[in-house]
């Protein structure tokens, strides 16, 4: 008789091997699907990889896509570690981008070295304030944060659309509904061909790693996530920790919005995220909420996104095939979590099974 039992936490090595094996199996499974769809899987994979990493400009494009994913995933990981299910990263991203845009459009005369930090501050602040709504509702009334954060995404996006078609509409755009472009001093400078968001995101990975691993706050967040009762018995100020941690989470997502609007889009529109806030939930979770792993998983995911866009033009494969491959790989990795946490053992008799 087969029986599922919980496993002691596997070593880092075991977990890594399991994950690699899973991805290999997933790639094999999706190659069957690709073949069934009438394409040559080897061709598709190599073109996909080439398209994302084959040359310097392609790498730059891939890194461009990885930056917002990294910062968003970091933000999400802080909240998730506390078991505060923030699926509102998309909305916090837009609110942050809105804050940054407000500063960019209204303080045009500031020199770049003052304006950009000001925009980052505004992005962080607005993202953080936006997540305080579900946080306070949860603390005061016990409202489910999963549902409130999800709903607030759409409120935020509609609000950006409103700004775009209403008060922030560029009067010089000949009736075309767009928010004015940023002036040059409000655009992030480039280093090695990619906006400096990549350096910022590397620094953030380091900061969040240290925060979660070596500081009192990080420890408190982890304990709170493990067991809220333990945290209370230990005399922790649960409300304060939750508010601070959640503010960091939303703030980082807002900062990601600032980086995207300033570094890539040079403006704000209701399209700039395109579901990145949801994708980041997936990357954050797959990375096991650990900051260094988030860096790796986000880059891998960006390769998949960029390569998927590339095979569209090079092999005339519809973008949807890349989505299907993504879906299959993710399903496999999600399913494989089971084998990290549980194992299936063979038991002889029913008696033993009950014991």
């Amino acid at each position: 008789m087969l029986k599922v039992v919980k496993k002691a936490e596997g070593s880092f090595r075991q977990t890594t091997i399991l994950r690699i094996v899973t991805v290999v199996i997933a790639l094999f499974a999706s190659s069957l699907v690709i073949a069934a769809l009438g394409y040559n899987p080897v061709n598709v994979y190599s073109e996909l990889f080439q398209g994302a990493t084959g040359s310097l400009p392609r790498w730059q494009e891939t890194i461009n896509k990885a930056i917002p994913l990294i910062v968003l995933s970091l933000g999400i990981s802080v909240a998730f570690k506390m078991k505060f299910w923030n699926i509102g990263a998309e909305g916090q991203f837009y609110m942050g981008a809105m804050g940054a845009t407000y500063v960019a459009l209204n303080f045009k005369d500031l020199p770049s070295y003052l304006l950009l930090p000001f925009m980052m501050f505004a992005g962080f602040l607005f993202g953080g304030l936006w997540i305080l709504i579900p946080a306070i509702l949860k603390l005061k009334l016990g409202t489910s944060e999963t549902l409130v954060t999800l709903m607030l995404n759409y409120v935020a996006i509609s609000f950006i659309t409103y700004l775009q078609y209403g008060p922030w509409k560029d009067p010089t755009a000949m009736g075309f509904a767009k928010i004015p472009n940023f002036t040059d001093n409000a655009v992030l400078p480039k280093v090695l061909g990619v906006h400096i968001g990549w350096i910022i995101s590397l620094i953030l990975v380091l900061i969040i790693y240290i925060l979660m691993k070596y500081t009192k706050l990080g420890y408190e967040i982890t304990v709170l996530g493990e067991n809220i009762q333990t945290a209370k018995y230990a005399g922790m100020n649960v409300t304060k920790i939750l508010i601070i941690a959640v503010f960091i989470s939303g703030g980082l997502c807002g900062l990601a919005g600032m980086l995207q609007s300033s570094g890539v889009e040079r403006s704000l529109s209701d399209q700039i995220s395109n579901s990145l806030g949801f994708t980041a939930i997936i990357t954050s979770w797959l990375a096991g909420l650990s900051a260094p792993a988030i860096l790796i998983v986000s880059i891998l995911f960006a390769i998949l996104l960029q390569g998927g866009a590339f095979i569209q033009s090079s092999l005339q494969i519809p973008a949807s095939v890349a989505e299907v491959i993504q879906g299959i790989i993710l399903f496999f990795v999600l399913g494989s979590e089971f084998f990290i946490n549980y194992k299936i053992v063979f038991v002889k008799s029913k008696k033993e099974a009950i014991k």
Binding site: L141, Y154, V155
Partner: protein
């Protein structure tokens, strides 16, 4: 005045149509959440239902096959979700999100093949008459001429009465049968359900799959009746509004009917009030605020639910958590 009344009547008719996909998605979501599983893949399952329903309708010319195919497409999506979240105890939120990516990928790909086959003449350009006639709005004589509500209630596609019947049946099933009671225990307190001998995994699978079937039908309504064609991303976020509506209707299928039509009205309003005036004074509410309204109202509803703390209105207690016997 006459013109106003007939305008209002068409407006209500359209609102109910807008609400019907929502209603199917919400009913599917309620089933799923009642067994404690939060499924954010509704949008993906709807899209799969939409494309397969339309494809099968085009190729077989059989209304029954089209509608069954759509339901089964949604069900297959739900099966993947159920396998990962029930059997493998994976994270429900993330799995649901992936299901939406996967479902829209599959749907767009099948859609591409569909268009290709139409261009090469393998498939007809429009739904065959048998299918189109079966799903197009039909007029009930006399009744459909009642002012204001006639068109809304008696000049509609067969999908509309089907969705209402589904809602009523679901209500009876949840509230009045033993299965419904067991189901609630599974969602509220799986340990107790387990102890009383309920086969938890079986219950979860059956209801998640049935929920997927209903979501597929929601998509089919769009592609077989409302628009009668396939368009990429044709659900345009209805799957997410359905997630909101599940909460707004407090997991009650009967309230879901009214909620769906109410949200349908909100979705139609932006088209109506752009140049509207009230007693001669032009009103200008930016349409985006109306788009926001369903979500804001859902949050307000959620707050009220948590404030009143009435057991039957609150989310299933175990929503979102996997059940593992030895964790008790």
């Amino acid at each position: 005045m006459n013109e106003f009344l007939s305008g209002l009547s068409s407006f209500l008719q359209l609102s109910i149509q807008m609400g019907t996909t929502l209603l199917f998605g919400t009913l599917g979501g309620i089933l799923c959440e009642k067994v404690g599983h939060l499924n954010l893949g509704i949008e993906g399952m709807m899209l799969m239902g939409a494309v397969f329903g339309h494809y099968i309708g085009l190729s077989t010319g059989s209304p029954l096959f089209a509608i069954l195919g759509a339901g089964i497409a949604g069900l297959v999506g739900a099966l993947i979700y159920a396998f990962i979240t029930v059997s493998l105890k994976g994270n429900q939120t993330v799995t649901g999100l992936v299901l939406t990516i996967f479902g829209s990928g599959i749907a767009n790909f099948i859609g591409k093949i569909l268009v290709k086959n139409q261009k090469s003449g393998l498939l007809p350009d429009r739904l065959p008459v048998a299918v189109a006639d079966c799903f197009k709005p039909f007029k009930i004589p006399v009744l459909s001429d009642i002012p204001v509500i006639g068109k809304a209630l008696f000049h509609q596609s067969i999908f509309i009465p089907i969705s209402i019947i589904c809602a009523v049946l679901l209500y009876v099933y949840l509230k009045k049968t033993k299965f419904g009671l067991d189901l609630r225990v599974v969602g509220e307190n799986p340990a107790a359900a387990d102890a009383s001998g309920i086969n938890i995994s079986l219950y979860k699978y059956v209801h998640i799959l049935a929920g997927g079937f209903l979501c597929g039908l929601g998509g089919a309504y769009l592609s077989l009746s409302f628009l009668s064609t396939w368009k990429e991303g044709m659900t345009s976020g209805l799957g997410w509004i359905a997630v909101a509506l599940i909460i707004f209707s407090t997991w009650n299928p009967l309230k879901a009917i009214f909620g769906a039509y109410f949200f349908g009205i909100l979705r139609c309003l932006p088209f109506k009030i752009q140049n509207a005036s009230l007693f001669g004074i032009p009103i200008s509410i930016p349409s985006q605020f109306l788009t926001m309204l369903p979500y804001v109202m859902t949050i307000v509803a959620l707050v009220f639910i948590t404030l009143r703390k009435k057991k039957e209105n609150s989310p299933p207690a175990w929503l979102g958590n996997p059940y593992f016997r030895e964790d008790r």
